[in-house]
Every structure is written in C-alpha cells, then in structure tokens.
Symmetry: C2
Subunit: 336 residues, 2 copies
Amino acid sequence: VYLVQMHQKITLKKISESLNISISTVSRALKNHPDIAEITKQKVRELATLLDYEPNTYAINLRTNTSNVFGLIVPVISNFFYHSFISAIEEETRKLGYSLIILQSGEDAAIEQENLKILRMNRVAGIFISITANTRYTDSFLKLEELGIPIIFFDKVPDFEAVNKVCVADIEAAALAANTLIKANKKKVLAILGNAELSITKKRRKAFQESFETNAPETQLILASAHSFEEALLQTELAYKDGIRPDAIFCMSDEILTGVMKAVQLLKLQVPKDVSIIAISNGFIPRLYEPEITYVETSGYDLGKLAFTRMADFINGRTFVQNLTLPCRLVAGKSI
Amino acid sequence: VYLVQMHQKITLKKISESLNISISTVSRALKNHPDIAEITKQKVRELATLLDYEPNTYAINLRTNTSNVFGLIVPVISNFFYHSFISAIEEETRKLGYSLIILQSGEDAAIEQENLKILRMNRVAGIFISITANTRYTDSFLKLEELGIPIIFFDKVPDFEAVNKVCVADIEAAALAANTLIKANKKKVLAILGNAELSITKKRRKAFQESFETNAPETQLILASAHSFEEALLQTELAYKDGIRPDAIFCMSDEILTGVMKAVQLLKLQVPKDVSIIAISNGFIPRLYEPEITYVETSGYDLGKLAFTRMADFINGRTFVQNLTLPCRLVAGKSI
DNA sequence: ATGAAAGCGCTAACAC
DNA sequence: GTGTTAGCGCTTTCAT
C-alpha cells in the first residue's frame, strides 16, 4: 500500500493496483460477494475505508441502466399540502439511499412537459406527479411508461383510469364536512371551491352538494370559486356585500381558508357566533386562528408515505395499476 | 432508414448504423460541430428528431466527469422562507437545463452529513446549503472543496470566514425594525428570537439591542427565545401572565409571528391599540392578519436569485470567496 | 469532412 | 476464489 495523493479520485482500479488483485475481485469484495475469501474482503474493505473510496454513481447507472434518483413534480412547492407530501417522500427516499429531484410546473402544462423530459433524461427510477389544471394525458406519459419508468399520480390526478393514483379521500372528506355542518343545523352555507377544471374540485363539490341534497335538502347552498388567497377573500366579501350572510362557510383548501379568514377579520365577524367555518386542510393553518378552525384533515405527509409505498411495490415488480385512497378524519376546533 | 421498433432506446450507435456513418460523426453533427458537412448534419438531425433521440445523461457525465444537477440542503422544506428560496433556485436551474436535488436535514447535523455524502456521490455541479444549529465546518465540506464542488452557504451560514455566503441583511433588518419601533415611541418592547446558537439570531439580536441602546436607551427591552410556533405562543402568554404587558412585540421570523399572533388572539388584544407588532418576514404571513402586520421584508426568492448568480459566477471560473448581502425594506402594515 | 480507437468507472458472464 | 473480457453510451484525440 503506497500513499495515495490527496484530492485524487479513488476508483476500483486504484485499489486493485495497490493490492495487486483484479478490479472485479475488488468490486465483488466490496459487495460482500460469497465467492470472495474473507481475508481478501478484509484487505479490500480496509483500504477502501482508508482511501475513502466512493463508487461513481454515473458509472453504475450507465452500466446497470438503473438509477437511484426519484423525480417529483408539483404545480408549486409553496403550498402547505405539498410541503408535507414532499417531506414524507424525501424521508423515505433517503432511507432507501436514493435521492429526489424536485421540479415545479408553476401551473403551466408546457413547463410540466419540460420537467417530465428532464426526469426522463435523468432516467429516474420513478416519478411522483401532481398535475396542473391543463395537463392532458399525452405522449410524454406514454413514453415514460414505455421506458418502464413508474409514475404515481397524487392529489391532482388525471381523470384517465388506467394509471396509478394516490389521493386523499376527496369524496369522504367533502361529505364529512357537509354532514358536520348539517348536524350543526346550518341552513345557509357558502362553499368556496378551487379550480373547477380539476378532478379534485369536481369530486369535492359533487360530494358536498349531494350530502346536502340527501340529508338536508332544505339548506341554501351558495357555491363560489376561488383560485387564490385574494379571490377567496373577495368571494367572501362579495357574499356579505350581496347581503347573503351565510351561517357557515366551507373552505375546500388551506389557501381558501386563509382568504376567508382574512375576510372574516375585515368584516369583524365573530366565529362561530356570526358565522361557522369548516375546511379541508393539511392541519397547520387552522391552528393559527382563535378559535381554532374545525377541519377535515387530509394529511400530505401520510399521502406521501402511501405514495412511496406504492412506488416501492411497483419497483418490486407489482406493476399492476392501482388506485389508492387515504382516509380522512374530522379534527374539531371551536369554529362551529 | 428502416423502421425502428418502438420502445427501444435510441443511441448514437443506432443512428449511425441507420445512416451508415460513424458514431463520432453523429455525435459531432448533433453538437453542430463546424467540421461536419451541412448535408450530413441535416440528415442526422432529421433522423434524431424522428426517432426522438435523447442523449444518455449518465454516459455523458461519466465521460466528461461533469453533471447537470445542483444540490440543495435545508433544515426543513416546510418553511415559508425556504420555499421561496427553493423556487428561485429551481427556476434558474431549469433555465440552465440543469436539475435540482433537494434534501432536508431536519435540524440534525448527522443527517446533514449524510445528505452531503449523497450529493457528493451524485457528483453534483454545486451545492446550496443552509446549515443546522449544530453544524461544524468539518471534513465533509473540505472534501467537497477538494473535489472542486462549489458550496454556497445561504441564510443560516457558518461563522467561519473563508466560504461563500449569501445572506439577507440581518443587521440592517433588525436595526430597521428597532428604529421603526423607536420612531413610534415604544417604551416596553418584547423581542422574541429564534435559536440562540445560530449566527442569524446572534446578529439580529445584537443589532436590535444596539439600536435601542444607541437611539433610545430608556426603552425597556425584554428578550425571549422561541424555537417553534408553540414556544412563541407560550412566551407571549408568559409575558402577559407576568404582568409585563409590552407595548410592542418584535418577531424575528414568520414562525415566531404566527405564535405571537395566536397569543394575541387568545389574549384578545387589539392590534395596534393594545400592542404593536413588527416582524422580519418573507412577506406572506403578515398579510393573513387584519390589520396587516408591519414587517421588514427579507425575500427568500430574491436571496435565491442572488445565490444562483454567485453559483453561476463560480462555475464560470470566478472562484474567489465572496460574502453577499441582500438588502431589506420596510413594508408598512397597520400594526404599529 | 469523416472514421477508428481509447477510455470514463463499473458490472457480470464466463473462464480457469 | 480470482481473473479476463466485453460493454453500458458517450466524447475526443489522432489519423486519414
């Protein structure tokens, strides 16, 4: 063993030369291959540790035609729900010794396509994606399938059937919110929903409406749509300017909740005396307010864990299409 | 040109065989090398487009010993400031045709080391990192330097001098907040600060205190420390239970602001009648409240852009150590 | 203007 | 139990 100059990249070749054995023996020793003599393994491992050997990921990937990187695409990172989803994925990813490439599509289907291409070119081991409102199930997805790259759609998923989807229980969540309001005997409910193009919005609206039609058809239901904090604020103010004065407001998401609560503060409404609030939420935002907001929890973190399980399954050969749903639960605040 | 079977990976070799020219010619043609005849380039490009050729990143990286991936490590993704930083980096990264590996250290120095190793093994082109409170400037960083991988520290940076740092103007921000309170004639100020181990906290506390000592030494200053939403809430409640009743509260971060505002709501304090609030913030949280909170803006997004500029510089050969600071500004709400 | 050939660092089938 | 060899897909030097 001669001294190896610092700063130099250590390869299997260098180790093999120092030890006067072949490259393949070194490779096998490091992988703890049963064929290799224990004493050889020892020598190799020692030197590898001493020299601080680190395998060249690119060479391995090229050779084995695999990779240890997952890809993830979301419309925006800056979203309470996606944070926790990403955190979960990132945790699991690291446990597996993989890493994670995160990309944002900015609600732009063209950028989303670009991002898919980046992931394809990086030959990622799998993709997690929450699509934009304008995404169509196009060639890009098919091409990935052809390459054998598994795609798990989550949260905002295509209507298309034959793909892997992992969603929160949208229908149950909206129904649970509706029935909570019904039980509290609310008669005039303002429901503020997100982008009507998204299947997530369609599902939640449908379930919310049907719950009332079935269980409390006499309730007056006012539907509004808001794509942002500002619009949710505006819609709430409008409802009051128009003299509607609902006795409860349903917020489909955290973003909408923040807008509604800003309006509630501006209008100096007392919660729950003047108006009740209920939301579907990831859990952080409702706790910022006093009284705390009652919400149906749909955990991004839990969804991330579920999505990863599906991905791991897929990679281990269970490649059939599956449609998983994460259960939800009511977290009682004092806003009703 | 014969029909190529679908689903098959297209390589330079396949194109060269179809066209009966050598691999190197195809490679050069695709790179628009001046030596290659225009007609050859045309043919090659046409077929490459037709077959939807995509170069194998791993082969390129292995051959050229470069990569088109940046790495980013933060204590937690779920943080308003880091979101916007990451968004900026992610945008620039994509513009360059690079991608971004994002890792969380969860405020754990050991995981941070692991993450650095992952990035090293992925031979990333550069690293952006905001360190944990317990990070020491160790071998890991030196090893990266030796490998020629540039590191840009941002936001939470080591005290150590000879590294690239990009920070918000902590001192100016805290001084600006202090002087705003002094101008408003506040006499009893509760300052809630983050983790005292971090240089960011030290700088902000020092500047805040010194501003008062210099410009309004008669002011009563109460310092408290909070590492989370809950602790900020608790510290504020404590101050009131102890009968301190400050006329202004300074919040060093968004997280602290959310805790303080929860306490304000619980204690049924009127802002700014009963108490004034000022924060150092990324800009989103202060707008959730009514009245909107006055804050000193330190934009994560702008910091990201600045950090990326530094990285691009570095990669283009300007490798000298630099210490950049992002200016801040006061955004007036109605909370003072 | 094009081709041949070497090699980046690694794995794995096949020898012995 | 260890070595030899071929090759993953690409770039690049050197020849022609």
